[in-house]
């Protein structure tokens, strides 16, 4: 194979075979297998039978559709009973299912048994357009450019470019609020604060009744919300606040607790309160085992040891659950000393 660089661009590229032994057309086209007649092709009785099967299926479909309409009236949901809902669903569903299924099965059976099954070969056309088509397309673009003046009237073209680019700007403004930023309502601040504050009473979810320390007997588990949350309405963002402020409170004997010196006064006589939002992806983690003091998250099986500052003992969570520092007021009701000392819930860009 000789190379001729002067005509290289025009010449069709032929790869060098190198040392390989080339074989012409290594796979022979085996062609079509001999056509095999079906039973319905040779036996008119079988064809008749297939025909009967097909139209029976289509009539079954008609009957099933009518049945679905009838079932809607025969099994109404009027008495508010679960049984009637179940029957309504079941019988209408069966009708529609058989109506559609019978059409499908009938159509396929028809094509398999009675429609022509002669094999045909349809050659693929080449992907490349013919020379005339290609030239026509180039010509069309050239004419369009000429007639519209897109290349000539530069002022119009450039102003169009400006308009298209400017149309993206409102989107940037809209989504800017989601990006990290400082100031009021910054997402970082929103995620760092919950409703808990000094003196906020711990109350039962959902009634919002205050809890005395003496109510929390050994081995008890209380699902707790801040007192002011219980008074909020759904239209005041109650669920958003609850999602951050919900707390699980348990009691064990004080000697079972392992506490750092600086956190010793965060618990009250063996009562500890921890955020119920998993630090992995924020599921409510509340499967508390009273003997092992382990808290299991049902979503991804993270386990926290409540007796040891809710440290992660298993699973994908990377931080311990934040602890709510608690104490009691003059009447013996449990109150919060402050908000959580760290953001609750999953890690985000400010905290890992």
């Amino acid at each position: 194979m000789e190379h001729d660089d002067s005509k290289g661009a025009l010449k069709e590229y032929v790869p060098s075979s190198g040392l390989a032994v080339s074989i012409d057309d290594p796979v022979q086209n085996p062609g079509l297998p001999p056509h095999r007649e079906r039973l319905t092709d040779v036996d008119p009785k079988a064809a008749k039978r297939a025909e009967r099967t097909i139209y029976t299926l289509f009539y079954i479909s008609v009957a099933a559709s009518i049945w679905a309409v009838a079932a809607y009236m025969l099994f109404p949901i009027e008495d508010q009973e679960l049984t009637s809902i179940r029957q309504n669903n079941l019988f209408i569903g069966l009708g529609i299912a058989f109506a559609l299924l019978a059409i499908g099965i009938g159509a396929i059976h028809w094509s398999k048994t009675l429609m022509s099954d002669k094999e045909h070969v349809e050659e693929r056309h080449t992907t490349r357009g013919s020379e005339e088509t290609r030239e026509a397309v180039v010509e069309a673009f050239r004419t369009a450019n000429e007639e519209s003046g897109f290349g000539r009237r530069k002022m119009i073209r450039n102003s169009l470019f400006a308009a298209v680019i400017a149309s993206v700007l409102p989107g940037i403004t809209l989504f800017r609020g989601l990006a990290p930023h400082d100031g009021e309502n910054s997402p970082v601040d929103l995620l760092k604060q919950t409703m808990w504050k000094e003196g906020e009473h711990l109350t039962r979810d959902p009634s919002g009744t205050r809890i005395k320390a003496s109510d929390v007997t050994l081995g008890s588990a209380f699902h707790v919300i801040p007192e002011s949350l219980a008074k909020m309405g759904h239209d005041e963002g109650m669920l958003n606040e609850k999602a951050k402020a919900m707390v699980l409170m348990v009691r064990m004997s004080p000697e079972q607790l392992t506490e750092r010196e600086e956190r010793k006064d965060w618990s009250y006589d063996g009562i500890v309160a921890y955020s119920k939002v998993c630090t992995h992806v924020g599921c409510p983690v509340a499967l508390y085992e009273q003997q092992t003091h382990h808290l299991l998250c049902p979503c991804h099986q993270s386990q926290f040891d409540v007796s040891d500052e809710a440290k992660v003992v298993f699973g994908p969570a990377s931080r311990p659950l934040p602890q709510l520092p608690i104490t009691v007021d003059a009447e013996g009701y449990l109150i919060a000393q402050s908000d959580f000392h760290e953001p609750v819930g999953p890690s985000f860009w400010e905290i890992r």
């Binding site: 809902i85 179940r86 398999k112 039962r204 109510d215 499967l287 299991l296």
Partner: protein, 269 residues
């Protein structure tokens, strides 16, 4: 020739099914003897059933014979075997024994339910005895377990306090290291109440200061309602959610699609 014939006959005598038949006969004989023996044992069991009035004395005898090995002669418990029963009360005894959890079969992640080992009178006797030695929570009043409470309030409390472990349809769920929250689909109202008050095994305690007697009545009513309610959606597949439903759709749904695809592409004969 003659030798060959002999060989063939010898081989013919030992039918290829001989081994299978021998094993079958052996299994049948063993099974038959076992069935007979266990029937005999069952018959003697029946004979020993004595109906007696529940009494603390009777309970003490039963306790010392059946429970004291692990829980101590005076309910003080034994390190590594069983906890002290001081203050657990008759309610805990009723719960543990009437569900077959106690006497415990063996140490494991948790004591499982199994066929009840004692008659109602015997359980009541032991409960009376335990209550007389060291009092604890008592059996609920009939009003608490009558099932006439506010079902929707009870269901809300169930979702907040119980559903995370016991599943929102009360079908139970897995905990850590082989432990699990059992289903509450056929638990009696007494035992639902007892579980909340006494906090058996790893279940936390929900005392009457946390969930009042009225709250408990509502929860029990909601569970009783659910136990009898018919599922409007047809097959519940154990109410276990995506695990059983996913398994079903993977095996039968995708299996069905494959079968249909095979039928559609198969040539008609």
């Amino acid at each position: 020739m003659a030798r060959e014939k002999l060989k063939r006959r010898a081989r013919g005598r030992r039918s290829p099914f001989a081994a299978a038949i021998l094993i079958g006969v052996g299994l049948l004989a063993t099974g038959g003897i076992y069935a007979g023996a266990s029937a005999a044992v069952a018959a003697t069991d029946d004979a020993t059933t004595i109906t007696t009035q529940a009494s603390a004395e009777e309970g003490e005898t039963l306790f010392q014979a059946n429970c004291a090995t692990c829980h101590g002669m005076d309910l003080e418990g034994r390190e590594g075997f069983g906890p002290s029963l001081n203050g657990v009360g008759e309610l805990a005894v009723h719960f543990q024994m009437s569900t077959g959890r106690m006497p415990m079969q063996m140490h494991g992640p948790q004591a499982d339910q199994k066929p009840v080992q004692f008659t109602d009178e015997q359980i009541e006797s032991i409960a009376t005895y335990v209550q007389s030695v060291a009092p604890g929570p008592e059996m609920p009043s009939t009003r608490v377990i009558d099932g006439e409470g506010d079902v929707s309030h009870g269901a809300e409390l169930f979702r907040i306090n119980c559903a995370m472990c016991h599943n929102v349809a009360a079908a139970g769920g897995a905990l850590t290291q082989g432990k699990f929250a059992p289903d509450i689909m056929d638990t009696t109202p007494e035992n639902i109440y007892a579980a909340m008050v006494t906090g058996p095994q790893n279940m936390p305690v929900f005392n009457n200061m946390n969930l009042t007697e009225d709250d408990k009545r509502d929860i029990i009513s909601a569970l009783l309602y659910q136990q009898e309610a018919q599922a409007p959606g047809g097959f519940t597949l154990g109410s276990l959610g995506p695990v059983s439903e996913g398994l079903f759709i993977w095996i039968f749904g995708i299996g069905g699609l494959i079968a249909v695809a095979v039928w559609i592409t198969a040539k008609s004969n």
